[in-house]
Symmetry: C2
Subunit: 464 residues, 2 copies
């Protein structure tokens, strides 16, 4: 018998704010970061997952993951891995930790890390990539992974099982097709606000040459800039080429409708995060107001309960699941089932650090065993930081190709982890001060009267 | 000039699970806890606030509060206290920390602690109780404390100002009336699930004798128990006496409607938290299905954006604001304004540890300067742990009487803090093991297949 011995969590941060990679209307100075979890056992077997953050607070996220250790340490590995539905429910229903959410924020993302690390371990022990481990489960086994509490007014157990049974028919053919063609990607690499028009133009051309059939631009900081950049993008890519826009929650309802209508002449394919990720009713109103422009959201969708309501209220045309925002693979499966019930395509959010490597497994599960064939399915791609992962994503002709290597994708090279440890890794040893002092000078420009914070290294904030 | 020098956070826990005080259908074994913040300056002046949790995770909450230190340490005290609207917006818009929410969970509660501690400090420097410091502000000053982002589709700046201008008329008379009569309380002391029928009967009688004009019972664990306890309560209190019920999120929509209808013969005054606190659409459906029974929720309402939607969708008859769930007094003021706009009474959630002492200031502000006179306004009261506070609540004839002592109410006696420090305080030194091992044996009974967690003291979960 083998048991779990520890949850090791490391605070890993990449100083991306130094180049304004990843800059948008609300996230002006991200340092792409990972609360990086290794679940250890008394054998060489270990499971890896991460929670993506954008810098400050990665220490808080790490503490939240570590707080779940008592649920695993000392437990039988075989037994836990054999019932990951039970472990998911045990963690989300911890009668005291639940108070810190429920079903949202730091504690839910921490649960997601533990659940995903256990799935990584299970796939490794089976010698398979995670997507195939999941796709190999039968309809009843998949349903048992899900918690239907609070969902049955939109998706009954019978409906969920029916979706999964349909998903089981022709699964082998879809696995073969996936291995041959992959799942289409779209790229956000050209579209960051921090880039010059020249860089935008060059990167757009490169994206088309690389075979991407859709691109995305960040908008929402300044209407004149948005109009100019969208015009440039339309000129470069030509009529009819799908160009999505992403406002990263910048607007209220009326502002959003006005701003999106102003860009309508350039035919945006979808508008992403026009307002608060929690505002189901506002998304529904915006969708009405900007049709035929599609509305998309989800990268900060806190739980299956939120996604259920976005679907019930007709708030979205596109559901953007994220790999590390909800309580892991189990909760993402519930979200895939809800989307299938309402016939809304799931186009996962990616980028950051490790999100592409992790979320592709959710999309492949969807393509093979839940939603099945869907021409509308696309996975976001951003060409950042892949070199730090043991199994970087493989993009061919603008599509994500499924990995055959074992695991769930989150494992980084040991050297990458060590180099980027915060605050003492070599990358930060000399640079932390500068990044930290930049912090709230760059905070949301719309927030009135916000003097810069004292130039204290974020790490100082951790010691109570 | 005086500056901020530190955010000291202490992990304070009361072993309430040993007596099943505070037990309900979802929170079966709470250890009422406080992530207890003292904001220090280079003078003897200090501000105090806390975030209430129910045990495990109080360490994570404490780390989140400490992570905000860089926003305050080194800053000018006068300057910060003179613009608490600006500080609130700076904290909620921190361009990196925002990713951990936004507007929800551990990080938002941490911001609430800092904001509330600053209000406590400001009131102390003015030599006033917090409610009076707030009530003394003019309409424009109050409006400047609020962030209307994401709210203006329901509440415009003009409407908010109009509400506050109406609130300013007759303010002195309402302050005098408040000092004479207070704000009615209702008590949950008799109604915990863990109590025997005899204890229930005795405590109900005592509540009536003490002048409370409403009581509340916990329900949702077992239908037969609920029916029996509600029948006992109706018999003891007599026809027409307001008896609310509280399901603590136990049900889905259909279950909730069925369970509430089964108790309808006993005329529950309101049903509280029938389902997920995030489920706006489910609350609306339940309200339709159980009318004339009122629907109440809010103690776990994550933000002003959620409350806005509950009001827009007609989901609730009663809004239950909480002192430590949202981003502090500033966000609660936005919620009071929304409730006033929709003419829904605000009946704050209290109990736990320190919630009564803190939330009364929100209700007094509402009564004096926002909602004004409202016969429907009541503040929850639970007779737990008040002896640990420097200024415990004063209940007379079933009403909360406004304190005249300075501050916001969260400051505990130093000895109480020291005795209950987790895990090394005397109260825990001998008892922690037992409580910790009890943890998930007592976790949500509805969670299938959840073996008990290893008997590791929760504190062990903290060290990454």
């Amino acid at each position: 018998m083998s048991i779990f011995t520890a949850l090791d969590v490391q605070d890993v941060r990449f100083p991306t704010s130094r180049d304004l990679d990843g800059s948008d209307a609300m996230n002006t100075d991200p340092d792409y970061s990972a609360a990086y979890l290794t679940v250890r056992t008394d054998t060489p077997d270990e499971g890896t997952a991460l929670v993506f953050t954008i810098g400050r607070g990665n220490d808080v996220q790490s503490a939240a993951i570590a707080a779940l250790a008592p649920h695993l340490v000392g437990r039988d590995v075989e037994e836990v891995l054999a019932d990951l539905g039970g472990m998911y429910r045990e963690l989300t229903h911890d009668s005291q930790l639940r108070w810190l959410g429920p079903d949202k924020g730091v504690m839910t993302m921490a649960i997601g890390a533990v659940v995903n690390a256990l799935w990584d371990l299970r796939a490794r022990r089976e010698g398979r990539p995670l997507w195939l481990t999941l796709a190999s489960l039968g309809p009843e086994e998949l349903l048992d992974l899900v918690d239907l509490r609070y969902l049955e007014d939109a998706l009954t157990r019978e409906e969920a099982l029916e979706i999964l049974r349909r998903g089981a028919e022709g699964k082998e053919e879809r696995i073969a097709a996936l291995r041959e063609h992959g799942v289409p990607a779209y790229t956000t690499t050209p579209g960051w606000l921090g880039y010059s028009d020249e860089k935008l133009t060059r990167l757009l051309g490169e994206a088309r040459d690389e075979g991407f059939e859709m691109v995305k631009l960040k908008v929402g900081a300044d209407p004149a800039d948005d109009e100019r950049r969208m015009r440039i993008a339309r000129e470069v890519m030509g009529p009819g080429f799908p160009i999505a826009i992403d406002a990263n929650q910048r607007w209220g309802t009326a502002e959003a409708i006005e701003a999106i209508r102003a860009l309508a002449p350039y035919e945006p394919y979808w508008v992403e995060e026009p307002t608060s990720p929690d505002d189901i009713l506002a998304h529904a109103a915006i969708r009405q107001g900007v049709s035929p422009v599609r509305v998309a959201t989800g990268e900060q969708g806190a739980s299956r309960v939120l996604f259920k309501q976005l679907l019930q209220a007709g708030s979205i045309d596109v559901l953007q699941a994220d790999a590390t925002r909800v309580a892991g693979i189990n909760e993402n499966l519930a979200i895939l089932l809800l989307a299938a019930k309402f016939d809304i395509p799931v186009c996962p959010h990616a980028g950051g650090v490790g999100l592409c490597e992790m979320v592709q497994h959710v999309a492949f599960l969807d393509a093979v065993a839940v939603g099945g064939e869907d021409q509308r399915r696309r996975i976001e791609f951003v060409d950042h930081l892949h070199e730090h992962f043991e199994v970087p994503v493989r993009i061919e002709n603008g599509a994500y190709m499924p990995p055959e290597e074992v695991g769930g994708g989150a494992r980084m090279h040991a050297a990458s982890v060590q180099d980027h440890l915060f605050p003492d890794g070599p990358v930060w040893a000399e640079g932390a001060e500068g990044v930290a002092s930049a912090s709230s000078d760059l905070s949301d420009p719309s927030a009135a009267g916000t003097p810069g914070a004292a130039p204290v290294a974020p790490s100082a904030a951790v010691a109570p």
